[in-house]
């Protein structure tokens, strides 16, 4: 099995289990508040790490390249409350443009 399919399988199974755990096992009970607070903060911590690795991550090094122009443009789009697709398109378009004129 290719590594791609293995990831599809593991992530799918893991997510299905996460979603079903409460309704199937616990009925109406809730998590203790300390634990719930930690789980709430998983998403911001992980997403920030993903921003960093996607923006400046390279193969075991930090790489500062044309992506940063695209991300700067995306920040403007986010501040203007643009729809998600516009944000993505702006980032890609600006990066591609800077790459084109820089080459």
């Amino acid at each position: 099995m290719s590594s791609t399919w293995l990831v599809v399988l593991i992530v799918g199974a893991g997510t299905v289990v996460c979603k079903a755990a409460g309704p199937v096992l616990l009925g109406g009970r809730t998590l203790p508040p300390q634990l719930a607070g930690i789980v709430d903060m998983l998403a911001p911590a992980l997403l920030a790490a993903l921003v960093v690795t996607q923006a400046v991550g390279g193969d075991r090094k930090l790489v500062f390249d044309e992506r940063l122009f695209g991300i700067a443009a995306a920040i403007v789009a986010i501040r203007l409350r643009a729809p998600l697709l516009v944000i993505i398109a702006v980032a890609a378009g600006v990066t591609a443009f800077v790459r084109l004129i820089g080459a």
Partner: protein, 220 residues
């Protein structure tokens, strides 16, 4: 479960307001998955089984950075760990035996969950299922459209799609910043990743960054 005669339809109607956005978001997943070297079928199967955007993007982004299977899967599953408490919050309104509850729980995503929340903080099963079905359909169809379109588009880097990943995660992050605590969690997570990138295999910085969630610990 009282109120309107067809809560399913009411939920579907609420979800319809964001259905085009979900379709397009699904298409962007299909497109970026393609740019990361994932086949069209794999990305559609992933959307159909995982049905959670940010985790799917995370898995694909780690894979595209030549990260290991373990790192990609761990990052994605940890992102979906929030569905444990979210699932628990709706547990009491789902119906039937374990199998039916298991299936109904799969329709829970951030948006369907938000749509089904009543003013008093309780949840409406009909709204949840109606909204979930609409969002699920749009997500899977959108992924298929993006994956097939991506195969026609060609070289992803010349299109700037590598920067699109960062922009996407940034946009998703902004939605999660709802408290000062979340800002701190994001700063800690981002800093850990930045420091570790030069020293570890791809994917490891993301997993290590989950330590940022410890700022969520609340004293009694």
């Amino acid at each position: 479960m009282t109120g309107s005669p067809s809560p399913y339809r009411a939920g579907a109607r609420r979800a319809a307001t964001i259905a085009p956005a979900v379709f397009v978001f699904g298409a962007s997943f299909g497109l970026l998955a393609h740019s990361a070297g994932m086949g069209a079928l794999a990305s559609v199967v992933m959307s159909a089984t995982t049905f959670a955007g940010s985790a799917q993007f995370a898995a694909v982004s780690v894979l595209s950075a030549a990260g290991s299977v373990g790192a990609a899967a761990t990052a994605a599953v940890l992102l979906n760990a929030r569905y444990v408490p979210i699932g628990i919050s709706v547990a009491s309104v789902l119906r039937g035996g374990p199998l039916r509850r298991f299936v109904e729980a799969q329709l829970v995503v951030d948006e369907s969950w938000a749509f089904s929340r009543r003013r008093d903080g309780s949840f409406d099963r009909g709204l949840l299922i109606g909204a979930g079905l609409v969002l699920y359909t749009c997500w899977v169809l959108g992924t298929a459209a993006g994956a097939i379109g991506g195969e026609a588009l060609g070289d992803p880097d010349s299109l700037g799609l590598d920067a699109a990943f960062a922009a996407l995660f940034l946009a998703l992050l902004v939605l999660q910043i709802t408290s000062r605590r979340a800002v701190v969690a994001a700063l800690v997570g981002g800093t850990i990743a930045f420091v570790l990138v030069p020293f570890t295999a791809p994917g490891i910085p993301i997993i290590a960054a989950t330590a940022g969630c410890l700022v969520g610990w609340r004293k009694r």
